[in-house]
């Protein structure tokens, strides 16, 4: 079968929601759940993963050009939506891989049901609270200057900067839509679900927790603790990467997932 190469995303209705969907590659399915900054068809990680998987990479409801149903206001809502999504596409033996906000969604999905899921990958995940009431685990992106957020989030912040004079109208619209939807879902409690840490024990599929070594939005120790709450989860650092290892080290990121999912890979 010839590999079909999509260079753009398609608008398509799934489980009652019109979604901005990237689909690429052949092989077993991998549901890629993007971080709050969104996903682009040109992100190299998609093509890399597409060498081993049928990559299904929607923009979450409210992100990209995906519609946002009025009643969806929590990450819990997104998790239920994705369970419906998996049912609608009849996905089986699915690898679910999420980064940051996308990993939070992935965890919320997995605590509910892993019937269709074979492996879980959480990269630089947010979503749980570990510190006490006077200590935050996650840098507050809503009150931190953007240039400083970039420094904390990237091993090489130069790739992050957005030139406001150069971006297209569409790119700007999507960027600010993504920011607004993130605030809708994650404003307060900030970037976590108070219940999630107590529910992670329900995840019973092989789980890989990947973390950029230079991540200063969520520190590697936060990631280790997160992994520690999931039975049998493996924790691996990715060097020369920050909060978005899928962007900074797409080859290594993809290879680690492919290895993890291959027979014998979870041992």
């Amino acid at each position: 079968m010839l590999e079909r190469t999509e260079t753009a995303s398609q608008l398509t209705e799934i489980a009652g929601v019109r979604l901005d969907l990237i689909k690429r590659g052949t092989g077993r399915p991998l549901l890629l759940l993007h971080p709050a900054i969104g996903i682009k068809p040109t992100d190299q990680v998609i093509s890399r993963l597409a060498q081993s998987f049928t990559v299904i990479a929607p923009a979450h409801p409210g992100f990209g050009r995906s519609d946002l149903p009025r009643g969806m206001t929590t990450v819990d809502d997104l998790a239920y939506f994705y369970l419906d999504f998996m049912d609608a596409l009849d996905l089986q033996d699915l690898v679910v891989a999420g980064i940051s906000f996308g990993a939070w969604i992935a965890a919320e999905i997995a605590i509910k049901s892993t019937g269709r899921i074979s492996h879980l990958v959480l990269a630089d995940a947010v979503g749980i609270k570990l510190g006490d009431r006077e200590h935050r685990d996650i840098v507050d992106i809503f009150t931190t200057k953007q240039s400083e957020v970039d420094q904390l989030a990237y091993h090489d912040p130069n790739i992050a900067a957005v030139d406001h004079g150069a971006i297209t109208d569409d790119e700007a619209q999507i960027m600010f839509r993504n920011r607004e939807t993130t605030a809708l879902f994650a404003w307060s409690p900030y970037m976590f679900d108070p219940k999630l840490a107590g529910r992670l024990h329900r995840i019973r599929v092989p789980t890989l927790v990947l973390w950029g070594e230079s991540d200063r939005i969520t520190l590697p120790d936060y990631g280790r603790a997160y992994a520690g709450l999931i039975a049998g989860a493996r924790f691996e650092l990715i060097e020369k990467a920050g909060h978005y290892p899928h962007l900074e080290r797409p080859d290594l990121f993809s290879q680690k997932i492919a290895d993890f999912v291959s027979p014998g890979g979870t041992r």
Partner: protein
């Protein structure tokens, strides 16, 4: 025309020249409680003077800032409800979308109205973007929360037969039955501030009073949007002027030089509006995403800047760095001798099609008590009576 005197009750000694941000994250170690106490009491004295002079009073609310120490508009209004005799007491306003408990707003507003024997003018506002952060209210869908709070407050004030329940999207109460009920029936007049065209129209539809703050000649567009909303709600009569309010700066002197010197002092307020740290300027969702995107493409992370124009639409630049003369030309400032101030107000009034309430910032920043008292007194004694006459004849002519 009703005229209201305003100060933000600032702590100007903390307006450090090198502070990037005067709001949200300026440490309160810079607030000496002794100095603050003297300032609060002085500002209250100036409002007592307003009452004696026959002026009305407007109070506002801000949080975590050296530009305005009034962290609760209700508290200032409560003090003035007891201590003043005649003045209308306008709160502009309570940021009802940022408060967790609109029932509490209904109760406190009712108490103020009763103690003042029906002098409360009740302003509900969206608030400024940066104060989403101290309140921690979610910046997305603020206006949905605003209108639900607004509806709950008005229902609480107008229901007299015992408790009702409320299970809304944002607020839940099992038993609402406020004591006291407000003095004014059915409830105190409702105001909101608006420079955004969308909300002006919504206010017109409801018939509330719209105040536009230092928008200069753009005020005409805001009032015209209000009129559309007023008419679309099915009202046959044209919008009465008492639905329209404008806020500007006022500085009066016995000579032009003295008036302009006072104008320089009161204008300092404009410089503080832009001194907000980047992340607080425009929290995601506070402004429509499509507008925020276009703004970003124009100015990056800097956030919106208030641009002025002359009466004829010629650009005058940003208000923040403007000279006194530019702010006068832009319709933000009314300053000079009483005669000059009168002419400027009348000129502006005619250019934008009239308004029924004039809100004047008579004190800001380092403007001291003596200058404030003299400016207010000159205005009340030598400008206000002439404006009353002018307004009355303008309405007759209409």
């Amino acid at each position: 025309m009703k005229i209201y005197s305003f100060t933000e009750q600032s702590y100007p000694d903390a307006w450090l020249k090198d502070a990037e941000s005067l709001r949200v994250n300026l440490p309160n170690r810079l607030c000496d409680p002794d100095v603050a106490s003297r300032l609060y009491n002085r500002y209250l004295d100036e409002w007592m003077l307003a009452d004696d002079l026959g002026l009305n009073i407007i109070v506002n609310e801000h949080h975590a800032t050296a530009t305005c120490m009034s962290a609760s508009v209700h508290l200032t209004l409560a003090i003035l409800a007891r201590q003043t005799k005649r003045a209308r007491l306008l709160g502009l306003g309570t940021p009802i979308a940022n408060r967790n408990d609109p029932l509490r707003v209904a109760e406190e507003m009712s108490i103020i109205d009763v103690i003042s024997r029906g002098r409360l003018e009740m302003g509900f506002i969206k608030g400024v973007p940066y104060e989403i952060v101290p309140s921690n209210a979610r910046p997305v869908r603020v206006m949905d929360r605003f209108w639900e709070a607004h509806d709950l407050i008005l229902k609480a004030m107008t229901t007299h037969d015992g408790p009702f329940s409320w299970e809304g999207e944002y607020f839940q109460y099992r038993s609402v039955n406020i004591w006291p009920r407000p003095y004014q029936q059915p409830h105190p007049p409702v105001w909101s501030s608006s420079s955004s065209l969308g909300s002006a129209r919504a206010l017109g539809a409801r018939g509330h009073i719209v105040a536009t703050v230092m928008t200069g000649y753009r005020a005409k567009t805001v009032f015209d949007e209000y009129r559309k909303g007023w008419k679309e709600a099915g009202r046959p009569q044209p919008t009465p002027l008492d639905r329209l309010a404008y806020m500007g700066f006022v500085a009066v002197g016995r000579s032009e030089a003295e008036g302009l010197r006072r104008a320089e002092l009161v204008k300092s307020y404009l410089e503080t509006n832009t001194r907000v740290a980047e992340p607080y300027k425009n929290p995601p969702g506070f402004m429509a995403a499509s507008d925020a995107a276009k703004l970003f493409q124009r100015v990056g992370w800097r956030g919106p800047a208030h641009q002025m124009t002359t009466k004829d639409g010629k650009p005058l630049g940003s208000a923040a760095q403007a000279s006194v003369a530019a702010t006068i030309a832009g319709g933000l400032m009314f300053a000079g001798t009483p005669e000059q101030v009168y002419e400027q107000v009348v000129d502006f009034y005619q250019a934008i099609g009239g308004f029924g309430h004039f809100l004047m910032m008579t004190q800001a920043g380092h403007m001291d008590h003596k200058d404030t008292v003299e400016s207010m007194t000159l205005f009340a004694q030598e400008v206000m009576p002439r404006l009353a006459e002018f307004h009355a004849s303008a309405q007759l002519a209409a």
